[in-house]
């Protein structure tokens, strides 16, 4: 089994991607208490924007890495400001349905504009090359994805636990009314978090495009995995999302190696087992 290191690395790359998507999802859930069905659609939008920037406008890949999250940040802010906020008072069901309808609209518009077939994005010579690691030749790009996720994870942890902004965010998660009474502008925090989560998702999309290719089904493909990540890791827990991404990334990778037919079911099986043993997820607080 000399392939094992390769599969571990493959798992790490996918785990990185999963973390980038689910971190935003779990943050939004923890803060706004909204399960954002459109989250993966924004990830897809990020990938398509990057295609436009790199392939159609002849830009560099690093430009897409900066520009696309910015665009998604604006889109996220608009969605929260003009749509989500209006139904917030009516409770969870309308919010869920709204993001659900939004996911449909965006997917269909993407199919309309970019077509229904897979697109490829060039990432430039450095990222396309391979590198020698622990005796095997491995593509740089997958390592790059993992490093991106590590970087984002560390930055998020630093912001959440070491800055004044982090204190405001954690206070708002804990007790919105109290934070509001103490002078925190909760609606602004909500918009900011939603926009930041969307930007993160868009960033994940840009990174995912060259690896998995850009196609209209990519949102649905990662959405369920990201949902499983936040169920297993615990709703609203960033550390949980990190660990669960790693577990599911590796499970995904080794599932393909060991049980090709069952690889999809393995992930759900893990979820069922976690639910039976610890219904709130590995790191979740009691629901």
């Amino acid at each position: 089994m000399s392939d094992i290191p390769v599969f571990i690395l493959h798992g790490l790359a996918y785990a990185g991607l999963l973390f980038l998507v689910s971190a935003g999802l779990t943050l939004i859930f923890g803060m706004l208490n909204v399960l954002n069905f459109a989250h993966a659609t924004l990830y897809m939008l990020g990938a398509y924007f990057s295609y436009t920037v790199v392939t159609q406008m002849g830009g560099q890949f690093w430009m897409a890495l900066i520009l696309c999250p910015l665009m998604l940040f604006i889109i996220g802010a608009l969605v929260e400001w003009f749509l989500l906020r209006r139904v917030h008072a009516y409770g969870h069901v309308p919010e869920l349905l709204l993001t659900f309808g939004l996911a449909y609209i965006i997917t269909e518009l993407v199919k309309w504009h970019w077509g229904n077939y897979p697109l490829a994005v060039k990432v430039g010579p450095v990222l396309e090359s391979t590198v020698q690691i622990i005796g095997i030749t491995y593509p740089v790009y997958r390592i790059f994805i993992f490093l991106c996720a590590v970087f984002v994870g560390i930055m998020m942890a630093l912001i959440l636990y070491k800055t004044r902004l982090g204190i405001i965010l954690r206070a708002s998660v804990n007790d919105k009314e109290m934070a509001n009474a103490l002078g925190v502008n909760i609606p602004l925090v909500f918009t900011g978090v939603f926009a930041f989560g969307s930007a993160l998702s868009g960033f994940a999309g840009v990174v995912a495009g060259p690896l998995l290719s850009t196609y209209p089904g990519m949102a649905h493909d990662i959405l369920i995995d990201a949902f499983v990540v936040i169920v297993v890791g615990g709703f609203g827990s960033l550390g949980g999302a990190m660990i669960a991404s790693l577990i599911i990334g590796e499970l995904h990778s080794f599932g393909v190696l060991l049980f090709p037919k069952l690889s999809m079911a393995l992930i759900y099986l893990l979820m069922v087992v976690v639910l039976l043993i610890k219904p709130s997820g590995l790191f979740g607080e009691k629901s």
């Binding site: 309308p94 349905l97 309808g101 997917t107 269909e108 169920v231 759900y268």
Partner: protein, 334 residues
Amino acid sequence: MKQKSKSLIIIGVLFLVSALMPIILKKYHLSMLTEIMIFALYAVSYNLLLGYAGLLSFGHAVFFGMGAFMTAIALVNIPGLSLWNAILISLVTTIFTSIILGSLLLRHKGSYFALLTLAFNSLFYAVATKWREVTGGDDGLAIMRPELNLGFTSISMTSLTNFYYLTMIVIGAAIIFCWYFTHTAMGKTVLLMRENEERMKFLGYNINISRLILFTFTGTMAGLAGIFYAFHFKFVSIWAISVDMTTAVLLMVFVGGTKVYWGPILGAFVYIILQNYLSDITARWPLFMGLIFVIMVLYVPGGLSGIITSIWQRFFVKKNHNAGKASTAEVVTS
């Protein structure tokens, strides 16, 4: 008492009208009406979860698809299986599935519950796609409608008219039974649990068991709709168990409105007709579906039935009489 006789009259009139439909309608429209009836039951069962119990499920297609697939699998694998036995096998499987899933999932509420049901829907979809030997995978399963054996005589189900009458009787009875269920003590318990769970606990009701019974009941009804779906189209594809099928019922219920019992039926009616005509005109049907979703959520949270009820109350109900009656009606149905 007056309320009861009024409902009986409405049911009787609806029955007569539906019974006359095969004479009036062309074959294409009769087929559409059959489809509407099947989806009406599916939507009504979903509304028992969403409207009455306040549980947002994204996995209702599991039961619908389970009913449809079990019917097809049983008919394909057991030669000479009678219609009743096919229904029985599928219903029993659906009931077991609902009990198992319900006991796993009902510990959670709100968004958690929505998410988990979605994950389970995806799991079942994945299984149906991969397990080619049994489900036919992407190719689906084609079946023939068996004869209806009434003991003394058997009726061929190949003609649409005969099948329409069977659907009308069975599905109609199921819809009426669901309505009856909401008026039983059990149905009221579920309603009150949604309003104040803590208080119901203190009053000595077993929340978990009541929820599980409701979940199983709605699952079974969705399964019955799925069985007739399989019979109607004589074909079951993995679409029947996909998340899209859940989305479809969600849209029906939401368009129709969750506040009154007939809302989802109206929703199914509108949805099937819209789908049939819009998909002829445009291939961008999901875009319209998404737009309808967003517009309904933003501007018409009560659904079409909400609009109709408010118009009705405005013009046809006397003002002074209105106040008391509206509030009692709300407690019972909303």
